[in-house]
Symmetry: C2
Subunit: 153 residues, 2 copies
Amino acid sequence: MIRLKRILVTIDGSTQSMKAADYAIDIAQKYDSELIALHVLYSNKGFAFYTETATGLVTPSSINDLKEEAKEEAEKWFDEIRKKCANTNLQVKTEAIIAPISIVEAIISYSENENIDLIVIGSRGRSAFKKLILGSSASGIMTYAHCPVMIVK
Amino acid sequence: MIRLKRILVTIDGSTQSMKAADYAIDIAQKYDSELIALHVLYSNKGFAFYTETATGLVTPSSINDLKEEAKEEAEKWFDEIRKKCANTNLQVKTEAIIAPISIVEAIISYSENENIDLIVIGSRGRSAFKKLILGSSASGIMTYAHCPVMIVK
């Protein structure tokens, strides 16, 4: 008997990430899991916050601006996910975070810290070249995740 | 509502592939899916059979020998899977095939021909170097599969 208490789906507005959400929602219902929809905005501006090499151009308030930007960008996708879950008993949490180093690193860290049992991702993100069959984020997450990963095509 | 009518798990005797089987069995129960456990034995001897360049060293009977070898090798793993399914209502099919070109190609073709809805694989196979975090088979399958792929760590 496996346990999937917490399922994470990463959302970037791409068709594949929304299809990944459909799978995550369905599996979360079967396993009575908590569903977390995560959007990650990459910005190296956030890095200064961590390295303490801030030159004055990056301040805590600009970090907050970045977070707001990520949240705003994600809100319409989160709304769509909430709609998909409207007729379920699912507990859904949405979160937008800044990735100061890389999107893969941010998702991996988040998953570990939040004790995620399954990560569901689309095979290609928004920014991937159409030519690439598997996006670099998907590939990195599969490689470094501590838990099972489902790639949705 | 997603449909997972047929779930494929690939088995090579590695710890990871047996853990993948646990996930596949559990999900198959939730979705009332048919479960297929597949073992692929790579042998370029099988290739002559396809290319008709047989030199006389490879005959249909030696192909059959290869198939028997794959089946024999897999039987103990299949037994283990049947045991895990003993107290379920799962319909389990086991199959051992020869990969004349590559293991990835064989699994991809099998999945397409058999209308598989989800492939569950271990992150590393038996033959993978311990250093490799993600085996080359897992990586190839995720890239080329027509359906969702779940990687179990």
